[in-house]
Symmetry: C6
Subunit: 73 residues, 6 copies
């Protein structure tokens, strides 16, 4: 089964979670090794700028998801 069968979600909160998932799947596409990603995560989750950069990616993906769901209007 696809990890991304649809961009549709029932609620904005689920859409936000999907945006986070998209952000992580793009990282995984570049670095597929789970152990290495865990190591890196230990570092950047204690770096404010790294967290802000991650938040920027989520914001960009959330734009896409929100548009796909017609902003859950």
């Amino acid at each position: 089964m696809s990890w991304l069968p649809t961009l549709a979600t029932e609620t904005p909160e689920q859409g936000f979670e999907l945006a986070i998932k998209l952000s992580r799947m793009a990282v995984k596409a570049t670095q597929p090794d789970d152990a290495i990603r865990s190591e890196l995560r230990a570092e950047y989750e204690r770096d404010a700028d790294s967290l802000t950069r991650a938040s920027q990616v989520v914001a960009t993906n959330f734009q896409t998801i929100a548009a796909a769901n017609n902003y859950w209007s």
Copy 2:
């Protein structure tokens, strides 16, 4: 109850506050520990570039919120 039941807000100012909330919730998703986030905050709130980066995330989220509210027209 959901922390994000809707993207609709009554006013642009409330929409801006929601954009700030989205930005922070994405950080929280990566770093859920409140104490660590507080420490990091103490650092980056005195770093001009960190503040600009944070402002960039808010701007991106505000685009989404503003579109969702049809720009409060």
Copy 3:
């Protein structure tokens, strides 16, 4: 009274000024202390990359404002 009662402006130039204001208000939300922001400003206003980053935030906010005003057509 709200600092952001509307995204509508009479002219593109006023819209650009509003985009600058949004950029600054997001910084203020993270660092509310006026004295600290003034100090930081003294630094980053002499750093080319900091100025470019600030210009990026304004560009993002101007997209929102311009769309809200139907590009002043």
Copy 4:
């Protein structure tokens, strides 16, 4: 045959893969040497911020692909 005959994909997941491809083709346009790109990849795939930056590019390209496919609605 073109490497980019269309932006249309059958599924969101294929669209995400196309977004990754676009991100890499832009890098290739600047650095066409396969050996050098492999070397660089070895570095940045172990750098959290580099991975986040790459994820940002994918997110931006995915916006385009998703819009092109009317969000696969």
Copy 5:
């Protein structure tokens, strides 16, 4: 007279020039001193990443200008 009376331009090339102008005016809003901006320019115009960042701002502003002109269709 306003420095930004309209977002409309006759041609895409003029639109691109306007995007450059917007990028610079945002910098000027933060650093109004012409002499300091000239100094900074001397630095960053020899720094590849600085130039790329500047190009990013222009790209963002060009999105706005192009939309405002209905892509000169």
Copy 6:
């Protein structure tokens, strides 16, 4: 003759090439000296983060070009 007579292209691939061209023309507007740009290019084409940043600019410009061509639908 204009270097940017239109945003219309016949194919997505040509649109991608135009996005690359826009990215470079913005750099050229800031640093018009061909020799200096060549030097800088020699550096950043061996820096993974520089290449990713360049890819980000292309992605942003490609959004504009793709929208201008109604996604070549």
